[in-house]
Amino acid sequence: MNRRDFFAVLGGGVVVMLVEDDVYAQETGGGRGGQRQQPQNLNAWLHIGETGVVTVYSGKVEVGQNARTSLTQAVAEELHAPVASIRMVLGDTDLTPYDFGTVGSQTTPQMWPVIRRAAAAARETLVDLASQKWMVERSTIQVADGKVTAGSRSAGFGELTHGEKLTRTIPATVALAPATEWKIAGISIPKVNGRDIVTGAHKYTYDMKASGMLYGKVLYPPSFGATLASLDSAAAEAMPGVKVVHDGDFVGVTAPDPFTAEKAVAALKADWKPVVAEASSKDVYPYFKKNARDAAESAGLTAYTVAYIAHVPLEPRSALAQWKDDALTVWTGSQRPFGVRSELAQHFNLAEEKVRVIVPDTGSGYGGKHNGEAAYEAARLAKAVGQSVKRNWTREEEMTWAYFRPGGLIEVGGKLNPDGTLAEWEMHNYNSGPSGLQTPYEVPRKKEQMHQSKSPLRQGSYRGLAGTANHFVRESYMDELAHSASIDPLEFRLKNARNERLRAVIQAAADKFGWKDRKKAPGRGFGISGGFEKGSYVANCAEVTVVNGAVKVIRIVEAFECGAVVNPEHLGNQVEGAVAMGIGGALFEHIDFEDNKIVTNRLSRYRVPRFTDMPVIETVLLDRKDLAPAGAGETPIMGLAPAIGNAIFDATGQRLRSLPMVPGKLPTGA
C-alpha cells in the first residue's frame, strides 16, 4: 500500500485503522502528528474530517448488490452519524486496504463487521477527544446523529476533530451493538447513489474518457486456440491516426475515435491456423466423464447435465489505462481490483506498488468479472503507443472471450429406508464444481465427490458457483425418491431434514405458497426445493403451466434466511433478482459451441429472462437477529431450477434432467 500521508490528502481530523490482531495494535498504539507506516494486516480505515465528512475505505466493490449502501449503514450504525455524511471509497488499490475480492457472498459476513468495528472505534475516539477537550468523564458523553454531547456542551464531529491529526490503530475486537438494538442497520435505507444512476450521471468504466486518450481494439482469432500465421496490416496502418500493435499473437489497433478503431481492426488481413476442437456442446457431457480422473461407475446412478451459460453482465468488460513513466493506472469494472493489480504487475513485470487499479461502481458481475482481460489489453496497447487507451468490449466479445459458468455431468443415486428416510446417498459432479455438493439432509451412508475434468471452454466463477448445478440435481433427485416412495415432496424433505434453519425455510415457503391446498389441474404443476450454501438457507415453491411443451412459470415463492437482515428492501431485491436470473438457467440459457467457436455469441442468439418470463415472485425473509448476517448474492438462485423442474414433472410426468429444461426433448445425459 503506497498511500500518502492521510492528512496531506484528506486534511486534518481523525484516522482510525482497524487491524486483525490486537498484539500489533498494542505495540503501535496511537499517536498525534500523522503516522505514515501502515500496518500489514490492515482491514479497513476511516477518516473523520474537519468538515464532519466521514470517509471510509474498503477494497470491496459495488456491482449492483448494494455493498456501498450496506457498508454505509454499518458505519452510520456504529459511528452514530447521518448516512448523508458518509462517503465510501471502494475498490482502489492505492487507497483501500487489500481485499481478496467481492466474491463468494463475503462482503456482508466478512467486511461488514470490520467496517462496523472501525466505526465503533472511531466513535470511541471522538468520546476520548471530547473528554480531553472538555475535561469531562467519558461516561457523561453521548454520540448521536453526528454530534457529541456532554451536558450542555455539544459539538459536531468536524468541530471536534478540527485542528487534530490523530491516528488510532485498533484491534478487531471492539464491542458492537447487537442486532436487536440496531437503528440504521436492519432497515431499508435507499441506495446511496441511486440518484446518480437514474439521472445517468454515474460514470461507469465504459463511460470514462481521459484527455488525449485513444480507443483500442484487439484482433481475436476466429476460433479458440487458433494461432496467427500471417498478418497484413498495411490498409489499417494507412488510416489517419491509426496505429497497429503486433507482438506475437497479440494484434491490436488504436485510433482517435471508436469507429475508426473498428474500421481499422476490420481492415487487418490475418491468416489463422486453427486447432481441432476436442468437444462441442453436443458431445461435451461424455467428454467430461472420459477426461475425469478417478471417474466413478455409472451403474445404478442417474445422470443429469448442466449446460455452460454466460453471465451477460449488461456493462461489458471495459478498461482505461494510463502509463506515467513506469507506473500504470487502470480503471476497470472488476470484482477483484487487487487480483487485477497482480495480473497486471505480472504481465508487465512491475512491482505491485507500480500498478493502481480503480473500480468505479460497475454494471454487474454475477461472478463473471474476476479477471482483468480488458485491463490487460488497454494497458498493453497504451504502453505500445505511449498514450492512454480505452478498451470497451462489445457484447459479442464479452460472450466469446470472457469465461463461462462450467457445464457439468452429475450422477446421483440414493436409497430409502421403509419409513422414507434416506439410507444411502451418492453424487458425483464432473467438471461443474464442488459448491453445494454436500447434502444438508440426514443420511447415514453417503459419498459425494467432485471430479475435475477438462473443459473445452474457458470457465470460471458464476453466481453461486456450482451451487445451482448441485442443488438442481440433488433436489430433483430428492423429488424422484419422494415420488418413488409415494410421499409428498414437502413431507419427504421435512422427514429427512434435521437442521432447524433448513426446516424453517422449507416450512415458510410451503406456508406462504399454500402447498397443502394446491389444486392440481391438467397442464399445471407444483414443485418444491430446499438448500443451504454460504451460510444461508433457501427454499422455493414453484407453480408452472406446460402447454404444448411451452413452460410458463406462474408463481415463485422463495423463503430465504441469512441471519440478521441488514437492509430488507435490498435483500428482497437481491432475492427477486436471483429468482429472475435462475429462471433463465432453468429454462433456456445455454451456450452452443462447435469447432472452437461460440454459436450463441450475441443477445439475438442467447436468450435471457425478460418481462414476459416473469412469474409473480413472493419472498419470505426470515430475520434471525440472533445470528450474524451472511451474504445473499448467491444462495437465492440455487433452488429455482429444481423447484421448476419438479413442477414440470408434476404437470407432465416428464422428469427433465438437463439444464436448461426443455419439455419434449429427451435429456442429453451421458
Binding site: 435507499p190 437514474v198 456493462e315 457484447r395 431485491n573 418481462f611
Partner: protein, 157 residues
Amino acid sequence: MAKVTELDINGSRRRVDADPDRTLLSVLRDDLDLTGTKYGCGEGQCAACTVLIDGTPTKSCITKVGAVAGKRVVTIEGLAAAGKLHPVQEAFLEADALQCGWCTPGMILGAVGLLQRTPHPTEADIVSTMNGHICRCGTYQRIVHAIQAAAAKGGRA
C-alpha cells in the same frame, strides 16, 4: 452524403460533425459525452440505449444519426427538469427498481414513452411494451411496480 452538423438534444442545439451512417448511440456517447445512454448489445436486443425521438422510445444503437437530424432527441440527462427528478425517475428510486443500474436510463425512457402514449397502462400493457428491455439483475417486478406508481401519480409529466 452530407455530414450531420447539428442535433436537437435535450432542448438544445448541439454542434456535431458526424458521418450520417454512424449510430446515434455513438454520437451521443463519443462526441457529446452523453454517456447516460448505454451500450448493451449493438443489435437492438436489450434497449439499454433507448432515447426519446420526438417522444417515441427508440433504440439508438440501431438508429443512424442521419435519420434524427431535425428531430427532438431526449436522453436521460435531459429528463430531470432544473434538478427536479421526473416522476418516473422518482418512482424507480422509491420502488428500488434497479441494482447495477446499467439498464436503468433506457428503462426509464422506455417507461416515460409508454406513459406518454398510455397514461394508465394495465400490467399487461407494461409487460408487453417494456419487453424489449433487458434487466440482467432481474428487477422486472419492481420496474412494473415503479411504472404503475408513476402512472398513479400522473407520471406523464
